[in-house]
Amino acid sequence: MLELHVNGRRQPVDVEPEMPLLWVLRDHLGLPGTKYGCGVAICGACTVHVNGEPVRSCTLPVSSAVGKKIVTIEGLSGQTLHPVQVAWIEHEVPQCGYCQSGMIMTAAALLARKPSPTDADIDAAMTNLCRCGTYVRVRKAILAMTAKPASPAGGKS
């Protein structure tokens, strides 16, 4: 039995240590907001925060996440939405929305690290893939937030 710290709660899980964190979250902890897209850490749909860093959970063995603070899209906001989620609604960023949990988690981590990212910072950090092509609005939403103070990533960590 492993114990994970997810969205501010301690969660015992009875799984193989090599099971990627993604599947523990989705199938064992009932947190389906984090998505499977490629299984090989290319697309970033599975991005969660591990100790505040954006991590592609589809290739992270759950054993590596033990003792660390994991935050998923479900835990990003508390009573109110995270500023990234607010900006995503304001700028109508998502289309199908499937990649957006990962996109939002990556953006939240970027803004926590760098509250006023440049275009080059955004290019370097936002490597998540989106088949619908929401990139124009992802950039616009992040840049619009740089004028406002960003809250730290992690929500209820």
Binding site: W23, Q85, R137
Partner: protein, 717 residues
């Protein structure tokens, strides 16, 4: 009222599941809208709560294109309700069967979601409004014509008495709907035509379980699937010993053409699947390759007995007498849809004999038919829960392979819900691909370089022949294979189009704007002709378009918006293209630079679209951006190659998607001219490849006649 689980009730239940399978809920549930507080179904399209909340039923699917919100806007516009109180639910495919298709078609493709249902959904809103007014008037004992409506409130003008929709909805529902209703003139729209926020976005940014892969049911198991890597092949034998012993594995399902492992989590199912030793019988096509497909196409191009998709004037004679004859050969590869959400289907054979299915579908009716046929059940005993689609682009409409598989797998475990999801690798190698094709074009020009005659030979698989083989004969014409040539907008007196249907074994399907590769060929070739004639490519096209032609207007609009006649910035080169399709007219200018090392940078795309009417200008712009990203991925990188009968690509490392850093700015100029309804989900991809490649020509002198660009020594900067 419907008596099946509504999507929203299901979502509430599955969201409440939280950490496990603790929550029990029984079927059938009543409709969520009714369960909450006796909402009244005024007509099939809308329900009104006593507190004035309006629930609008949506028959088409939402895959990110914004149709759900646009249709709700159209109903709300005519209903004249308060937009802030509107929510939606998907119309039930099972109820559609039982209610004689009261919602019409559920098919969501061809950019038709809004344009082919706008008339009857608007009429439904207008009829409901008429009934609400009549009900209020009857209670006041006044003529309905003395009453007006505004944002869900009915006012009797002479006395200024008011009633809210929620107060009279129940009485209204008992009235006979008005036979004739007058729809609002679009110039008077207050909800439609406005860039309202999309209704599906708040749940999506919260990570709510809205997708088919998010389905969670008590006791549900998970399945991963392996299909024969050679299309048309079969399972020869399997050795299940290692897989069966793996942790969590509950069942191994062997069918003629696939094997599935069912386990208590998807990862365990997929890991066990990798340990299955499967021997495949490749069947007849185990040796097929790019080369054999090429030979097939070339045989078709040489076949003089193929049918003519167009034969106007006398192209053969005109080519013989032309001052100059130019020819070129263009080609395109197969392309997968590669939806971010892999194909998925959850099926549950309930103990009471009813089958429930949850899936990402572009056509709820087609999914229900496929599920019922697979299960051997009457359609009345099947429900399909339409979930939000994690992308679709044509993959999830006509082909319902994933539904048949999901139902087949669950049938092996009666009473147990089973969620099947394909791995990315499976999804990459078992698509319904954009057809590959080779096209040869020959043009006859006069002494001034004007186009007099064009003879086009097209060798291309037929999508209809793949998806619906009985509806088209092998030597006939598939319209999407000849599009852009058989309906060329330019005034060219002599035109002939030959179509050689050469199908091969690779399944083909409707990939965003089917036939769009022909626009690449045609508009690139026209650019070649303009260069030969030493004419500006926009002016060259305008010469062949009559005054007032909508093609001409949209081309002029984009040229103005892109400042075509002004010099472009240093090292930036422009290319243009024109197209029409999916009911709309679209013209584009691409600004591109290419470094001496071959690094291509697309800086800016300007696109003008005339769709007649615009229901939500912001989602229309989003769709233009989407088409640019989707199309640039294909232009720069993507191809699906065939070797040993199978697709060689397997994931995003060898089938890359455009990244944010590579995304150009997109300026969308909406020029709706009224009088018709065109689509927005696909048209903007039509002129993209030629606009970009024509700009590449100006940057490099290199004429691009095949894609992707990586084969021409060009890659993204």
């Amino acid at each position: 009222m419907t008596t099946t689980t509504s999507r929203r009730a299901f979502l509430k239940a599955s969201a409440a599941l939280g950490g496990g399978f603790a929550l029990e809920f029984s079927f059938p549930l009543v409709s969520s809208a009714a369960a909450e507080a006796a909402a009244t179904e005024v007509n099939a399209w809308l329900l009104i709560h006593p507190d004035d909340r309006v629930v609008i039923r949506i028959a088409r699917s939402e895959m990110g294109q914004g149709t759900l919100t646009a249709l709700a806007q159209l109903v709300a516009e005519e209903l004249d309700c308060d937009w802030a109180r509107v929510s939606t639910e998907f119309a039930s495919p099972n109820a559609s069967v039982r209610r004689s298709r009261v919602w019409g078609s559920m098919s969501t493709g061809g950019s038709q979601g809004v344009r082919s249902s706008q008339d009857y959904v608007r009429a439904a809103g207008a009829r409901a409004r008429g009934m609400l007014v009549s009900a209020a008037a009857a209670q006041w004992k006044v003529p309905p014509s003395d009453c007006t409506t505004d944002r869900g409130v009915i006012t009797h003008r002479p006395t200024t008495r008011t009633k809210r929709y929620g107060e009279v909805a129940a009485a209204a529902a008992r009235l006979t709907p008005p036979a004739d209703v007058k729809l609002r003139d679009p110039k008077d729209w207050r909800i439609a035509g406005k860039p309202v926020h999309r209704l599906d976005i708040p749940d999506k940014v919260r990570g709510k379980p809205v997708f088919a892969v998010d389905v969670a049911l008590p006791g549900m198991l998970h399945a991963s699937i392996a299909q024969c890597p050679v299309f048309g092949g079969k399972v020869a034998s399997i050795d299940v010993r290692d897989a069966k012993a793996a942790r969590g594995v509950k069942e191994i399902v062997r069918e003629e053409d696939f094997v599935a492992v069912v386990a208590d989590s998807w990862w365990r199912a997929n890991e066990a699947l990798k340990r299955l030793k499967i021997q495949w019988d490749a069947g007849a096509d185990g040796a097929a390759s790019n080369e054999t497909i090429d030979v097939m196409f070339r045989e078709g191009l040489a076949d003089t007995s193929v049918p003519r998709a167009r034969d106007t004037g006398d192209a053969s004679s005109a080519l013989k007498s032309a001052a100059k004859v130019v020819d070129a050969e263009y080609r395109s590869p197969y392309l997968n849809h590669a939806t971010m959400e892999p194909q998925t289907c959850t099926a549950w054979f309930r103990p009471d004999g009813f089958l429930e299915v949850w899936t990402s579908t572009q056509n709820g009716e087609a999914s229900l038919s496929a599920a019922a046929a697979t299960a051997g059940l009457p359609p009345e005993q099947v429900e399909v829960h339409k979930m939000m689609l994690g992308g679709a682009f044509g993959r999830r409409g006509a082909p319902q392979d994933f539904v048949r598989q999901g139902v087949t797998i669950a049938r092996a475990l009666p009473g147990v819900p089973v969620k099947m999801m394909w791995s990315r690798e499976e999804d990459m190698q078992h698509g319904f691909y954009r057809p590959a094709s080779i096209v040869q074009i020959k043009a006859g020009l006069d002494a001034q370089g004007r186009l007099l005659a064009m003879h086009t030979k097209i060798a291309c698989p037929s999508i209809v022949r793949t998806l619906s083989p009985r509806s088209i004969s092998p030597n006939s014409i598939d319209s999407s294979a000849v599009r852009a040539f058989n309906d060329m907008p330019y005034a060219v007196p002599h035109q002939r189009v030959d179509y050689a249907m050469r199908n091969g074994h690779v399944p083909v399907g409707y990939w965003r704007a089917p036939g769009q590769q022909n626009v690449f060929y045609r508009e690139s070739f026209l650019d070649e002709l303009a260069v030969l004639a030493d004419k500006d490519p926009v002016a060259y096209r305008l010469e062949m378009l009559a005054e007032g032609d909508k093609n001409r207007l949209v081309l002029e609009a984009v040229a103005r918006a892109a400042d075509w006649d002004a010099a472009s910035p240093t090292s930036v080169h422009r290319g243009g293209a024109l197209a029409n399709g999916l009911g709309s007219f679209v013209a584009m200018v691409a600004e591109v630079s290419v470094s001496p090392q071959g690094h291509v940078r697309v800086h800016r795309i300007v696109v003008a679209i005339d769709s007649g009417h615009v229901v939500n200008p912001d989602t229309c712009r989003a769709q233009a951006e989407s088409n640019v990203a989707f199309g640039l991925s294909a232009i720069l990188y993507q191809e699906n190659n065939v070797k040993d009968g199978r697709i060689t690509e397997s994931n995003f490392h060898d089938f890359p998607l455009l990244t944010l850093a590579e995304m150009p700015s997109v300026e969308t100029v909406l020029v709706p001219s009224g009088g018709f309804w065109g689509g927005h989900g696909e048209p903007a991809i039509l002129p993209l490849a030629p606009a970009v490649c024509n700009a590449v020509y100006r940057a490099t002198g290199k004429r691009i006649r095949s894609l992707p660009l990586k084969h021409h020594g060009l890659r993204a900067a």
